[in-house]
Symmetry: C2
């Protein structure tokens, strides 16, 4: 049994394709999400169908894998069953790839009032909120209220925050400016709040500084040493007393392992991630492997980052581990082979750190474009994403700036 159809879970299912096992994959969504492009849904460049793909169609080529839609609520390690909204399901071997969730650190008002950017539903909510704020601002005659409504705060200077702030400033400066002819761009503020004194902690300082420079040129205000203390209706307060009236606050400054991990009764490490053996097995439960964001494996004293390459490599390793156990052998220790990291800062600019190759600006962006395009899961999506990107690039336009939410259907 595999819990989670993200990069870890899906890769594990594929790695078991030719193995003499029956795979049951559970997820609360019926789609696999290409998370690196989620910020492009949030900023009205892509539609959900371009970055999400039906799990069932992805499993079609695998003869031994079945999918079930279910919200997993817990794991009974002793009974070897998984509790779901649809009842308990038994497993022989379990690959736990439940991923991570927003961590609001109990900061007052944050969970209720800030928007996260982990799920597709959240990406759509951000898009709706941004567009609705611009629309609502046209009715507001009080300048201070209008400015507050048009103040957008992204909290967290990691890759997600940087990509979102960059794409968002382009949405405003290149597209909404033309849509809202009576808009005074001076009334629009985009802020990126970072708790430390630099962006992109995982990148080398020179690339991080380049990214900050690009963002500033795009009109993004960057506040360092900015710790959010609380968020009330329309107002954000920082630990050092600074305040901001902001209509929209997006939180990208904290994630932690899924709550399924906390319910295991196992030891948790940094960010609520499950401590695992070097083989990725759960201590005391050799039949359970934890992979992806939820696994808190340390290498060289630091936990492996929550990144797609880590998740995919761990998934392949765990799949081999299960087969070793079935064959009566012990699973090997996992070693991560780092392919590098990259983040885009918007049109024409990205930073990429691939081994000794460090790229910023346009070359970094070309690299980013190439890597993401070839990795979009299906050929059809690739084609459509390409059309949308080209459209955006050539015409400075955003195709899908629609405020739309499905009506409740039950």
């Amino acid at each position: 049994m595999i819990i989670g159809a993200g990069f870890a879970g899906l890769t594990a299912a594929r790695a078991l394709k030719r193995a003499p096992v029956d795979v049951l994959l559970l997820d609360r969504n019926n789609f696999h999400l290409f998370t690196p492009l989620l910020y492009q849904v949030a900023t009205a460049l892509l539609d959900p169908g371009e970055i999400a793909h039906s799990v069932r169609s992805l499993l079609r080529p695998l003869g031994n894998a079945e999918f079930r839609l279910a919200e997993v609520t817990g794991v009974d390690l002793l009974a070897r069953t998984v509790a779901t909204g649809e009842g308990a399901v038994a497993y022989d071997y379990l690959l736990l790839a439940a991923g991570s969730e927003n961590n609001y650190f109990g900061i007052a008002g944050l969970e209720r009032r800030a928007l996260g950017l982990k799920g597709l539903d959240e990406g759509l909510a951000i898009r709706n909120r941004i567009l609705r704020a611009f629309e609502a601002s046209r009715w507001v005659t009080d300048a201070a209220r209008r400015r507050a409504l048009l103040t957008f705060v992204v909290v967290g200077g990691g890759p997600t925050g940087v990509e979102l702030a960059g794409a968002f400033s382009e949405l405003v400066g290149l597209v909404l400016r033309k849509d809202f002819r009576d808009l005074d761009l001076a009334e629009v503020r985009i802020l990126l709040l970072e708790g430390a004194d630099r962006l992109l902690a995982a990148f080398e300082p020179r690339l991080a500084a380049a990214a900050a420079g690009v963002l500033r040129r795009k009109g993004v205000e960057i506040w360092f040493q900015a710790q959010v203390k609380d968020l009330s209706r329309g107002r954000i307060r920082l630990a050092d007393g600074r305040r901001l009236d902001a209509g929209t606050v997006v939180w990208t400054a904290g994630v932690r392992g899924s709550q399924i991990g906390r319910g295991l009764g196992a030891e948790l490490g940094h960010q609520g991630r499950v401590r695992v053996e070097p083989s990725l097995q759960l201590p005391g439960h050799p039949e359970v492997f934890v992979i992806g964001d939820l696994a808190g494996l340390e290498e060289g004293g630091a936990p492996l980052p929550m990144l797609i390459p880590v998740a995919m490599q761990e998934a392949r390793h765990a799949a081999r581990g299960v087969l070793a156990l079935i064959a009566g052998r012990g699973p090997a220790a996992f070693r991560y082979r780092d392919p590098g990291i990259m983040a885009t800062v918007g049109r024409n600019a990205a930073v990429a750190q691939l081994g000794r190759v460090h790229l910023a600006g346009f070359p970094g962006w070309l690299m980013w474009l190439f890597v993401h395009l070839v990795n979009v899961v299906s050929f059809r999506s690739r084609l459509i994403v390409l059309v949308n990107w080209a459209w955006d690039y050539l015409f400075y336009d955003r195709p899908v700036r629609l405020i739309v939410r499905a009506r409740p259907d039950d």
Copy 2:
């Protein structure tokens, strides 16, 4: 002022492009919806961005038109103001293009439990409900309950009902069958319920019979003389005593003019549509024109149908009428020039009735394809819709069968 950014409102704004007037267009959505393809969103073939287009970007080429997002709650004809959620807005001339809404005729349980297919949010709700029903059915061990869950009822044998039932049977037979390998197709029922004794009342009998034949070959059960009496949780009862256990009921059997029309205090005709002068003016209020679905103009004893060509022709006529009034002349009477009607019954089959040309089957479908593709509002959408259609056609696949709803953002 124009209320409504549907085909009537948008066409009116465009028709006033070069006129010496200031146009204010109000709508509760920030997008114009290409309604003829909404059933393809409901059946997981197209994404919202492919059939909806930002009103603001559509208005960009018009120098004299402004858009505001607002829910219009009423019109004060004496004060010449429109009441909105954002306050009252004054007008000199009003083009009322508020369209139509679902009419449930007060049938018990229908409004609460059936799904309509008028808005984009409803199209997404149907898609979510259908896909969730298939997913949920995999967990149900009781065969009767599973069959009820997999019974899908479309009420109303007009073009919307016929197109939806046809596309839905293809979604099941060509796509979901492959996604759900353990699905017993005999457990899936698709029913089309029609109150009269034939489908497609607006088409000539031969074409309607051809459409019914195609639907039956696709596995759709058609019930004639089927009047819904009430809908309780999971069960639909007909006036003649027939019953059906059905997990999903989609209502396409009734529309009526928007509630804005009912609030006018003006005389209403059939389907709650506003009675207008031959010039489309509101009796007693020459500065108000009613156009599109909300206008109940009769020609030859019958009201003009709620169709896009009617809406667009009325819009152009009313725009000329406003300019005539400004110039001190009286507006002319409207005359509808019927370009014909068409409806698709699925892959490779449609019926089209264009003057003396009557087409069914594949030729009708080619005509349908051509007319709809050239009419999709933007070149980008046309390109992407074409990619999706070609994909569907060549690979018997549906690209966007995702269950997704935006998270509430406020």
